[in-house]
């Protein structure tokens, strides 16, 4: 049985007519294994193919067909288990979950109820970039996806597409360790980041390759656990937050008006932001789980598991710790950079041979800033990491100023090209030749004698001269040199 010891932060409490409440949240995430073939058949898993074009005899449950376990999927589950800091079970087994539905040809889903491949674990989750919480993992198991029932093609019939039927899913079940929609969102982000680092799932929520069911109950802070409802099919971070907010309020209202929460499965409606009853506990299926007699238990050797562990990439937590310790980045910046495998790889490519902090600032502020603004994924960035590496290098060796660097970045973004060549060809190199700068300064002082005279009394007005020189140089004058020369001439 679950227990929930942590009490929510007061800021996350919800006030009701009878006092404050806290939300208890657990998540079941279904992550599609990034495998070319299905869990028990050789059919392709490619998304968006013609309906029913990727259905083998096994997927269609033809008489006499037998499942054969795809070892690649087992490996991905183990990799993910390591990512969750979880126990890898050397013995696991597949069970049948029996129910009738047209998109389930076998009449049962092959899953792992009694002996999952991955046991308990724990991950650290960033909440809104501020707090960090620990979320326990109950288990990860492998199972088959069902096909897709399409109800809106015809008013009188349902169409069934079995392409997805039999695709391998990893179901990751958390402990009820989240207390707010922000924490739940942080958890999903972390899981998504992990599976993407591990390349065990592409994390594409739009394609449904990562989906979440949310278990929610409410209680008086620190009090007895309430009855939970399961919200199905919440398919984006935003919907997860919406569903939690709505559902918590709904439950509080029921309890406070003297009602009781029915343990039930509810469906989230993305259009209305509300949840509604899908099936009550009375209607719950008796799935009649039992070990699938067509499959042997999965017995893993410790050597095999160790070899998988040895081949793991550096995961976000370790990477962040390294960025802080070795690169001297702030925990926050490091967190931003490692949140995504592609982002961290991009940063490391920019930082290579450069000042790490400067590179971090540049990547976070300039690159990520621009990408966010334009709503472009890092993979599709018009400016490559290599180009940014050159830009940061030129800032470091004072070839260009920070301001010019931004200009160069804009040019690269819009027109493409090699930043070094751009700086060269467009004459954007910083002027460090003091003679040239001095000439400019003298010219400006000569043109503004009154202003120059005032500087002695009001040193702050020196800035005006700096601006003038920078303008005259087209931003290319080295600001430090300008400052120094102006000071020696006017102060």
């Amino acid at each position: 049985m679950f227990t929930a010891t942590r009490i929510a932060d007061k800021k996350d409490w919800i006030s009701g007519a009878t006092g404050d409440w806290e939300i208890i949240i657990g998540l079941e995430i279904h992550a599609q294994v990034a495998s070319k073939a299905k869990l028990f058949s050789g059919s392709s898993t490619e998304f968006g193919s013609e309906p029913n074009s990727q259905v083998s005899l096994v997927d269609a449950a033809m008489p006499g067909m037998l499942p054969v376990l795809n070892e690649f999927c087992v490996e991905q589950a183990i990799r993910t288990g390591f990512g969750l800091n979880a126990e890898i079970n050397l013995f696991s087994r597949f069970d049948r979950k029996n129910y009738f539905y047209p998109d389930l040809p076998q009449g049962y889903q092959i899953s792992q109820l009694y002996h999952p491949i991955v046991g308990e674990g724990e991950i650290e989750v960033d909440v809104d970039g501020a707090d960090t919480i620990k979320v326990g993992i109950e288990r990860l198991h492998l199972e088959q996806d069902a096909g897709k029932s399409i109800h809106d093609l015809d008013p009188n019939s349902t169409y069934v597409d079995l392409n997805r039927c039999g695709v391998a899913l990893m179901e990751i079940v958390s402990k009820p360790d989240m207390r707010s929609s922000a924490e739940a969102a942080g958890y999903v982000k972390k899981i998504r980041s992990l599976v993407r680092y591990l390349e065990t799932c592409d994390g594409d929520m739009e394609k449904g390759n990562l989906r979440a069911d949310v278990n929610i109950s409410v209680r008086k802070p620190g009090g007895e656990l309430g009855t939970r409802c399961e919200i199905k099919n919440v398919n984006s971070m935003r919907f997860i937050a919406q569903a939690i907010e709505y559902e918590a309020r709904r439950q509080i209202d029921i309890i406070e008006s003297g009602g009781k929460i029915d343990q039930e499965t509810r469906l989230f409606n993305a259009d209305t932001g509300k949840t509604r009853t899908m099936r009550s506990k009375e209607d719950a299926h008796d799935y009649r789980y039992f070990p699938c007699p067509d499959l042997l238990p999965v017995k893993l050797s410790q050597e095999y598991v160790n070899s998988i562990k040895a081949a793991l990439p550096e995961l976000p937590d370790a990477k962040r710790a390294r960025f802080v310790a070795e690169y001297g980045l702030s925990a926050y910046d490091a967190g931003v950079l490692v949140s995504d495998r592609e982002k961290s790889a991009y940063y490391e490519a920019v930082a290579k041979g450069n000042d790490k902090k400067l590179a971090a600032n540049w990547v976070i502020n300039e690159v990520f800033g621009k990408l966010n603004k334009e709503n472009i994924e890092i993979e599709n960035s018009p400016v490559s990491a290599k180009a940014n590496n050159s830009i940061v290098k030129m800032i470091t060796d004072k070839t260009i100023s920070g301001k010019i660097a931004k200009q160069v970045f804009e040019i690269c973004w819009n027109e493409g090209g090699d930043p070094v060549k751009i700086v060269d060809e467009r004459g954007l190199k910083q002027v460090t030749d003091t003679g040239a700068i001095e000439a400019m300064i003298d010219e400006i002082i000569a043109a503004n004698p009154e202003q120059a005279a005032k500087v002695k009394d009001k040193p702050k007005t020196l800035g005006w001269f700096v601006g003038q020189v920078m303008q005259k140089s087209g931003g290319k004058a080295n600001p430090q040199a300008v400052n120094q020369l102006l000071r020696s001439k006017l102060l």
Partner: protein
Amino acid sequence: MSDLTKLSLSEAVSGLRNKEFSSREITQAHLEAMEQARGLNAYLTETPDKAYEMADASDAKIAKGEGGILEGAPIGIKDLFCVDGVKTCAGSKILGEFTPPYESTVTAKLWKDGAVMLGKLNMDEFAMGSSNENSAYGNVISPWQRAGSNAAIVPGGSSGGSAAAVAADLCLAATGTDTGGSIRQPAAFTGLVGMKPTYGRCSRYGIVAFASSLDQAGPITKTVEDAALMLGSMSGFDEKDSTSLSRDVPDFVSACTKSLKGMRIGIPKEYRMDGMPEEIEKLWQQGTQWLRDAGCEIVDVSLPHTKYALPAYYIVAPAEASSNLARYDGMRYGARIDGDDLNSTYERTRAQGFGEEVRRRIMIGTYVLSAGFYDAYYIRAQKVRAKIAEDFKKAWEKCDALLTPTTPSAAFGIGEVSDDPVQMYLNDVFTVTANLAGLPGISVPAALDSQGLPLGLQVIGKALDEETCFAVGGALERAARFNAKATRWW
């Protein structure tokens, strides 16, 4: 010409190889016999075109001095095996006119070795039954009759069509499947040899599933050597069946004549049942004596959990069946009876598509897997199963194989037992243990009872030790000199 149907499989194969007759000739002889024997209802589908095509191909190979170990030999296939392009309905209405576009591994191996397909054989629906009275296409009638009576006798089940066809010389040999005795019991009832190999020896790919952890394919043949020859072809690892065993297939045929000198044969005392006919008891003693004469040492052994085997079997098998048969829902293939909505379509399709016994077992299986009953029934049955396997392991410390009767009685008349399912289930009492423990078992015809019906003796061997089963079976066959045939009345 019709004499060709009287040959054993081995005799036929060597006659074909020596070009004494052609495959077309022996195939034609069988097809003609089949035509005359339709009253037995042994075949559900006859495939003469396919048979002649395969026979001609075999003759061409033989002419070139090529061909496999079964080249040109016409055989029958239990309707549970999917054969590419041939209607396969597992004795059920629910599969309708289902014609698989794929081939079971076992039949693929048989064709590769040159066997010729005559047709698909009748069976109890989804292999559930011990008398063939549960076929949706009418019961098979045994070629055997009680002395002085023309009352119709059951051929046993579920491979009743296979047994009747071989016994009536409607094929040289036939495939069967055995989940609780469905090869050995009909073989015993019809004076034939029936071999259920070790679980995993034959691939289950393409065989319509009844109870996956128990189902095994095997041959029903006229002689022990034939069974060895045919099993050699049917066996072997198959990557498409995760439970098939990655082991080399031994030379089963040469095992049939192996000396039994010094072999220890166990007689399990728990197989001596109350109310067992004296004839069976006598035959068992006779068999023991034959083996002693062949040089075996006879030892008494105990398999203390035997009495729990049948109840455990009737929990495990229906549980698996209830799930395995869920796919027959009228959605993708087979029969569908439309209702007002999805659930009523399911209900009508399955209520009308499945016969009474299949429905009964689906209900039992659903019940024993239900929340609240799972531990008391399914889990407990699995524990019993482990105990039974342990019993055998202990017995193997004392002996190399076990000798038992195959069935507690000879064949019975059609309708005599069919209204009492529990009585019917008792037919499996000596055979289910081998399925529960995954062991090989062979039934060899040994005598006729007082009414002139055949009785069989069973040899159970260690896992993967089919060779000892064949060796002991061969010795029993030589000693029993059983050569009775059903007198032709059809």
